[in-house]
Symmetry: C5
Subunit: 259 residues, 5 copies
């Protein structure tokens, strides 16, 4: 689980709750209005369903779970593994990697190495792996797109709810004592919309984009590594090539292993 | 029909209607004001007519109908078809495809294969098909552009209507009991504009763009396939080339057929 | 004259006028306030003069007139003409085009063919025609830019006028009966600014961009055609090359002539 | 001095002053509030100082003066000069240009020709002149950036000033007669911010960008001309090459000289 | 320390403080409300934590300190140094640079020269140094991104706080004397959010981007210089190549040293 996301959500929700409770006292119930919740969440969901195919909207849960629970392999570990495969292929021939694939967790690595073992044309290996990379990138950016869309429509339906509430209130101005509470309820949808957008949807969309970038970098390292193994590169060369993907600090932390 | 679009529209309109009815009680009629409808829809239409050529605006209905009712061929089916044409061309010569074109539904595929049969210069085939692709893409993005434009001007004319209503109301402040209802009517145009933009125009523009992307991918597969058939590629090679357009999950679902 | 533009302006202005008159009754004069008109139009003009060179601002009238009154040649007609010139050049030599240039309307076509007749270096012909194309495109996009700029500053000076009106009104709150009308006048500038921007400037800027695109496509066809004629291409080849600029429906409508 | 800029400023400031004076009557003093001026201008300056290096902010005055007072050489005159240098170089050898450089005003032209005389490597001449061009372009776009930044922060500090004024006013609501004037003062900062941004900063930023474009075009002509002279091109060819930078109307106005 | 940043912060904060104190008199305490501070800063921090990985957020302090306290080497000095290394390498062989590296401050220069001494493949040197440059650029733009994000969410949570305050106030409208102060408190969060964004976060993000540009230019000069030294270029050529990175004024100030 991504610590910063959890921390941010807890801090944000906690603070807002504290501000509401400490400010409203026993009238805290005034902040909860089911019809307002329905307008904001329902409207946001409706607009998102119209914007995206149903399949994409349903896949959001999976994207979220995957993005926050799936522990990504470290790039250092991945490079070390790929270099060891290159050593095996150099020493015992590329077919001997057959035994190794059983112990690999990552499907993408297995697929790449299996194609190398099968003697698939290098250009085709690269095309297939790259197309898979593009497809993962697509899926991720659709996930981000859905959260961005929700973050765009939540405040819009918040405003729509407030307008509906104001029109109702303005029709009933005979009893001045009801103007205040009527307007309070009308403002709730704007508040809900702003919270959903700024505390959940938009920041999550940003985090998803960043996690996607990290994951795609790993896939690129795999593609580069498989191509290099397939062409029979010296393991040292494989290592040097792959390490250019790392940041200098990451690279420095690998130097001892290299010596 | 696109399920998510229908679902989104029903959910969205239903929710707003429920919120209005449950909130306004018997005064629900206050939410319907024909002059306000005229300002928002008329102004939006006027601005769209000035922005686009008449022909484009009129074609919107067709674009919408086509985008939501037309059932796109699946990419898997299309590739399987193209591979079978490649097999026929390989076995019996490219002229034998003449018999096949009668059974093809898609005009774009027929056109491409017919040019290959006629021995048209490959470069010219590619140019003509690509120019057709560009033209379809243009038509789609004009369709999306019109909905985006309507989604931009609907709230603007909503605000203009509210300003007109406010000026009228402020001129008649002698009778305080009319201030509330006057302001309520003034706000209606803003409400209408926000609903039209956020529940209809902007989400539909997004969906159109996504459907267009799917359709253009199919056309690109056709172009690639026709070029490959024309150059006499081995059917296996045609299949491999075309499948790089598919996402891995789609590709996996085709593997059995391949074996 | 562009029908949709005229229609849009008439519908839009008519609707707003109807809404104002039917809503305000005999107080319709309250919607006309010369100082408010001066602030919005004057401010918008001032900001546009500071943003653009005087020459560009003055040329706007010409750009508008040209864009809406000038009847563009149809692309089909243009291609048919260019193909016929190619036939003449093929049959009687390129110098025989000298007789043809007298009957051509379009200066751009004349210039291109004249250079071909004069034996100007092909690369230079292309450079000169392309530089002319760029210069037309520049002039058009400056025209669009001026309308976009006016559409940006009109609402800004509308808001400035409202602020000035509010400050004046707030200084004179002794007589409560004047608050309403004072505020009504203050809101007028915002209303004017919104109308000028959303009903005139921004939609016209969009239409200009689209008309410019159509006109530049014609110029590109001319350049391609002149280069093709100059290099002595077969008229059939000239036709095929030029028709890739057309959309498929336009192309289909030319097929009979081709047979 | 750029006429349109001066005209725009005079018209804009005049109009606003007229609207304020004619509207406020003898209460015109209510529109001048030194603390409000301090918040808007001070805040805008502070934010600009944080955004840019001190040196860039101080250079703004120079950029402005240069942009509006410096009379740019006409492109036609520049091309005629460069063609005459090409003629001299053709006739008497490139070293004979030594006598010419004394009479040239423009440092950029002198520098280019001097390097050609010195026999500097053509590639290096181009690199050095291009790097100088980039550096001028950089300075200009920094100038534009500073005005854009001021135009962004002026309204922001206008709003901040209004919020401060509102909070003060709301704390002192015991005396209702002071609410109006208090709110009037609070709105002044928003008015100032909107005026500074929309009448001065943003339009000036646009004008600067346009003047920069004109000046950089001249420098590009110089670079192209010097490279052409250096390579010993025929003066006619130099002229043809350079004139492709001109718009067709400018080019037409040079034709007589050419004959 | 960057003078303009300090100056801007002092001027900005000082002005706002003066405006508040001079305006509010002894009621200045009304501008300080701890719960409002908590909502704006807490909400902004929460949204930033959700948007970025924890590591990036924590590194902000380092990025800031580095950007404002670290005194960048001047480009002129750096070029002079690199040219002197080129002279040594030319005279005594590249291995003799070993003695020089001890006296160099900058790790990036040392790393590049050390690889040249070690005879690392030129292509690999360039790849490694460029990847390090990309990684520095990444770190900087993440730093800028965090400030931009904070500048985006601070006003959003300011508005959320105001909405919460308004709802609470509207529920308690029995006592009219509390409406003013209640609304004053509600507006404070909007004021805080606007100040944090416009006086701190957004301008700092801009300054960071500009400082990053300066630093990356130095690194590019180093890469170009090391590559040039490694390939045994003449020191004069090294100097000429590197000086094309300088602006003309910087270049002019180096001329004497060159003579």
């Amino acid at each position: 689980m991504d610590i910063a996301t959890l921390l941010g959500l807890v801090v944000g929700v906690g603070l807002i709750a504290w501000a509401v409770i400490s400010g409203a006292g026993e009238k805290v119930g005034a902040f909860i209005d089911p019809p307002s919740v329905a307008i904001v969440f329902g409207g946001m969901t409706a607009a998102t369903l119209i914007s995206f195919p149903l399949k994409s909207v349903l896949s959001v849960v999976g994207v979220l779970k995957n993005a926050f629970l799936h522990k990504a392999m470290s790039a250092e570990k991945l490079i070390a593994d790929l270099v060891s495969y290159a050593e095996i292929a150099r020493r015992d021939g590329i077919l001997s990697l057959e035994n190794v694939t059983k112990d690999i967790d990552d499907d993408f690595v297995i697929k790449g190495i299996q194609m190398a073992i099968d003697g698939t044309d290098p250009e085709l290996i690269e095309q297939i792996l790259t197309s898979e990379l593009d497809s993962i990138s697509d899926r991720h950016s659709r996930g981000k797109g859905i959260f961005d869309t929700m973050g765009k429509y939540a405040p819009a339906f918040g405003m729509i709810g407030t307008l509906i509430g104001l029109v109702i209130m303005l029709q009933n101005m005979d009893d001045p004592s009801k103007i205040g509470p009527g307007m309070a309820v009308a403002l709730l949808t704007t508040l809900y919309g702003a919270l959903v957008a700024n505390l959940v949807c938009l920041p999550l969309a940003d985090k998803l984009a960043r996690r996607s970038g990290d994951e795609l970098l790993l896939k690129e390292i795999v593609i580069r590594g498989v191509m290099s193994i397939q062409s029979g590169d010296n393991p040292r060369v494989v290592e040097q090539k792959l390490k250019t993907f790392l940041s200098p600090t990451m690279r420095a932390s690998m130097e001892p292993e290299e010596a």
